[in-house]
Symmetry: C2
Subunit: 659 residues, 2 copies
């Protein structure tokens, strides 16, 4: 049965959980579809994650390969396709714990960068798994700065081949997923040399393992890079190339080609490369950042409604920890952020789709804005969600620290999202470059992309709020965020100009402003997130049942942001000290209001117990029984440790001196 | 040889690294002693941590037991004792990776809570490891709130025994270290019942495993609680008691006793219990929080001097990432914090020693202050150091995420320090209670403990700084911190009073202020840390060689705190917006200054390569070679995975349909 402490939380929901779930999914039909996929996956024992927390890196890898292979069969059986509506739910259902994710990147890079002939040759082989692909870009000594890659590909006119080499240890490919133990092929990024001239980075398809017996091909040294903070199921690999020859046709040549005589031909726009990165950054926000935060909130909030600790009122039963203001202040802003970022993901997706339609018409005008937004939001959302998951973990005390809570693995995985697909600080600085440029353009009356037109608008100098309830007005707080973003962008742009005018070299001036530029980029994304949340809530008029609670969450998200960053709002007096006290009062009031719906709000995320894989987060709230049951299954309880015979027994039997 | 990029950093040190090391150690003689201990431990292969990152929980446990047993022999050989000057260096040298730490807590609890007879009986047995002890306080359903523990001990007059029981699953002992697989005895905390009356929590010595064959004793159910985020080497355990009988003499009875007829006698002061907690909290700051942060800084800063990425100046070699302002802003404040907290540890230690001398004279007056400071600093320092280690990890990009960097294990271990020995939020609220009380007393002219006399002093209303260099004056910034702490404490105390006067019940009013109370407690500790750092630097006059760089670090620590919390200084206009711009300018200037000495400043921590156990942090800076060498040793490269024959081969050989 359900723990009465959790059951009671559900009886007082101010809204229909089912309706909120359907809205989050984009309609009841989507909910139905998602549940069908999840059910089919979870019913199949091959996809079980029951023993995940007890497995070694080798065991995790084997299980992930097994699942990936089995998934092909399953999809065939179920009539699902990679392009079908089910596909986005499959990844959620397997909880990312599956191999061959880089195989898809391998295919995508060929589709985007390859010629029609190359696509016709390689994509069918890959689709039918007659090879397993990976994507070898990052090197031991080079990550984000692609121009610095050191792997070389020299064209040999005589044999019509490229000769690939790893000239030094820092040039070794390092980190590519699926490459350590699985892949037979990979796309290698290398500096192209023809007749002694370097043409920069180009992609080459290279076979690394035999299709017959999986042994390494001649000239290939490859293996697994060893243990990581998470991703034990993925065989991130290393690759060293020693005079490896591939035919001329293996350079992906949609945008440039080396002709048989060595003539280098460039064609088409290179800008499309941006678009691939943009697409990846936007696509990871939902699955790799928002979903884990939603799961962490579900686990921590359900547990906080069941865990009782200390007396709140003297003489009464120990209180649910969710009733403590400090616990609410830890968890409820994370819950509000999960909703805010779910909505910003919709916003970015729509922007992306619109941009994509334009690009298909050969109009590349939206690319700079899309690139800036995808970079900034990737950085801001992954950073926010990572610290949100950490807060949830710590809010569960000692039990949160047990792997069985599910929280440590959520954390150790999500933190990687701050690093991969562009390190967050570097991404924020790319956004900042766009913002400074747009601000300059706007100040001189030039037209700027829609998301930054606000930089040109005239601003009021003081926040008009008179009492704490004024701060529950989206107009008031959205305006405050806008003012703050404009101030940070304009003052940093001014500092940059001043430095340059005082004779500091441009690159040095830029470097000296980067701490503030990164802050300005975050402020911009924060503003857009608040504005988008408020606008979405406004459009919910037809759904009165959920509009009210969404309005509360929007208010909480906005006021939490002000409460946690008071300085940037107080700095120029836009918000006064007295007004900040009103913000604090409104913010703390909201915690008590949203606390009442906290459990229904996480129930609406609709995670199954299997997908949470948490002894603390189960729907029935029977946390202590489950912790005990799961702990007993641990391999540490399955055998008497050899430590007893070897060390403890001699010690206890007083043979210490003879050891 | 040493990587030239690291060697060049050392040639320009503005101070003597050796002298700074000696100062940190408390004198050159201490440095010599520490190095001798570290060398003796590291030379012994039993203490090797070489394979640590590749080991399973079972393997880690076995190694930790082996090391603990071997350490006894080693200490005997070397003539070291647990009370000797070497003892504090032994733990540092084994890097905490050792069993039987709870055995020491078992002994300490008997020494503190036991009668002379009990001490005479149990301590010799424990010292000679004729038993292995643990400490069973925390339960599945109860952590910090000891009064809520549910285990029972009923006195049976007929047999002169206590009958111990675990009445329900939430009463199961959960988490005690060394209990899952090693301990033969433990101190169980249980609610004492005599003749049906409950006398509250008392400690009982209970044998849980046979001294002959290590089997569980009758009525005992015990085992390992399974995998955790770290501490794989420790067998944290569970324990269920079913009518377990222990003789009357097994209740630790220094402060209270059950006489043969069931008469309950209380004697002596209970206050001393506070002192034990105080002692543990202060003792963990150095080893469990500051040392890991120092290690993380060493790894991240050395790596940042070796890692080159992107062009800073067009046309030049790629720049060391340590030359980027954003990287400096991540790492250097953590470095300054490591020094600040090393010094606050000295401060607390001295306060503690003084308090202990008083207590030995039966003067308990310093206890409330000591309790408040130890709680607040435990919370503040562990929180700060945990986020510092995370920043270091992320600042190393992808390679920081590899276990081989050493950073993930530092992080997953240090985060536990925010939870154990008192959850940080609860500890901050204990400090806040003391601060509010002291503030009230000070306002009405009563005397208050030395650390809080500042609450009564008259304050200036505006910061007198006129330009950015004024903010390099310790008087200016210490005053700002003091003002801010007073404001947060007094305004929260006022809010609390207002609520109570408006009719809100006391406990409810308190709960409604807790978010702000916790903030006020942090502000107090931050102020004391800055003040102590500044005073220590001032006293360094005789050591001119290191005074200058310590002054820079002190300035950086103080200004980073203002820069990161601008709101609390701007709120009442004590610092104006224009002055805050000066703070920012001074702060950013300092980064460039300290950057020049960054590597020497971490070298001064004097960690050996073995103690860092990091491919990125070695003294010679040969990071890429080491990553490659270590990765090849991974068990994932030691065997062909069965996944190939079972899943990959059938897939690649196009037998998908038959799977």
């Amino acid at each position: 049965g359900v723990n009465p402490d959790l059951a009671s939380e559900r009886q007082t929901a101010s809204f229909s959980v089912e309706k909120l779930t359907a809205w989050l999914d984009g309609g009841a039909e989507q909910t139905r579809l998602r549940r069908a996929v999840v059910e089919a996956i979870e019913r199949d024992p091959v996809f079980s994650r029951e023993n995940q927390y007890f497995q070694s890196q080798n065991e995790r890898y084997e299980a992930a390969v097994r699942k990936a292979v089995h998934l092909q069969k399953k999809m065939h059986e179920m009539g699902w396709s990679h392009e079908g509506p089910e596909s986005k739910y499959i990844y959620r259902a397997v909880a990312g714990d599956i191999a061959f994710l880089l195989h898809r990147v391998f295919m995508r890079s060929i589709s985007v960068l390859g010629s029609d002939e190359q696509i016709a040759k390689w994509i069918p082989l890959a689709s039918q798994y007659q090879l397993i692909g990976s994507y070898a870009q990052t090197e031991l000594g080079h990550g984000t700065y692609l121009q610095g890659l050191e792997t070389t590909a020299v064209f040999d006119v005589a044999t019509q081949e490229f000769i690939l080499n790893t000239p030094k240890i820092s040039a070794m490919k390092w980190w590519p997923g699926d490459m350590g133990r699985s892949a037979t092929h990979t796309v290698v990024f290398a500096q192209l040399y023809v007749h002694g001239k370097c043409y920069g980075i180009h992609p080459f398809i290279v076979q690394i393992r035999s299709l017959q017996d999986h042994s390494l091909c001649p000239g290939i040294i490859a293996g697994d890079i060893g243990p990581k903070m998470n991703f034990e199921h993925i065989d991130n690999g290393y690759l060293m190339l020693q005079n490896v020859r591939v035919p001329r046709e293996n350079m992906l040549n949609k945008f440039c080609e080396v002709q048989p005589d060595g003539t280098y031909v460039r064609r088409g726009s290179q800008k499309i490369n941006y678009f691939t990165m943009t697409s990846v950054r936007i696509s990871l926000i939902s699955g790799e950042a928002v979903t884990p935060l939603m799961k962490a909130c579900t686990i921590a909030i359900r547990y906080s409604a069941v865990r009782r600790q200390s007396q709140l009122k003297p003489g009464e039963q120990e209180a649910k920890i969710l009733d403590y203001q400090t616990q609410q202040e830890k968890l409820l802003p994370q819950l509000a952020a999960a909703y805010a970022f779910h909505l910003i993901d919709d916003y970015l997706q729509e922007l992306f789709d619109r941009g994509y339609r334009e690009i298909q018409r050969k109009n590349f005008d939206t690319l700079p804005e899309l690139h800036a937004l995808s970079s900034g939001f990737k950085a801001m959302v992954t950073q926010y969600c990572t610290s949100g998951v950490e807060i949830c973990l710590r809010a569960c005390g000692g039990h949160g620290y047990s792997l069985l809570s599910g929280l440590p693995s959520l954390y150790t995985k999500i933190i990687a999202s701050c690093i991969y697909e562009g390190e967050n600080t570097i991404l924020l600085l790319q956004t900042a470059r766009f913002l400074v440029k747009s601000f300059m353009a706007a100040s001189t009356g030039q037209s700027v992309p829609p998301s930054v037109t606000y930089l040109a608008a005239a601003k009021s100098r003081k926040c008009p709020a008179k009492n704490k309830s004024d701060f529950l007005s989206p107009a008031i707080y959205t305006e405050a965020y806008q003012h703050m973003a404009v101030r940070l962008i304009s003052s940093t742009a001014a500092k940059l100009q001043d430095l340059i005018q005082s004779g500091v070299k441009k690159h040095d001036a830029w470097n000296r402003c980067t701490v503030q530029l990164a802050q300005a980029a975050k402020a911009h994304c924060h503003y857009i997130t608040v504005k988008n949340f408020a606008e979405t809530v406004e459009k919910l008029e037809s759904k009165a049942g959920i509009q009210k609670i969404m309005k509360h969450l929007c208010d909480l998200f906005a006021l939490h942001g002000i409460f946690s960053n008071t300085g940037v709002f107080l700095h120029d007096g836009y918000i006064s000290g007295a007004q900040m006290d009103m913000v604090t009062a409104s913010y703390l009031d909201l915690l008590a209001i949203i606390r009442k719906d906290a459990v229904p709000l996480v129930d609406a995320f609709d995670f199954t117990d299997k997908s949470l894989n948490s002894a603390l987060g189960c729907y029935d709230g029977q946390v202590y029984q489950r912790l005990y049951e799961w702990a007993r299954k641990s391999p540490t309880n399955k055998q008497i440790s050899p430590a007893y015979e070897k060390y403890l027994k001699p010690l206890l039997h007083n043979t210490l001196s003879k050891l």
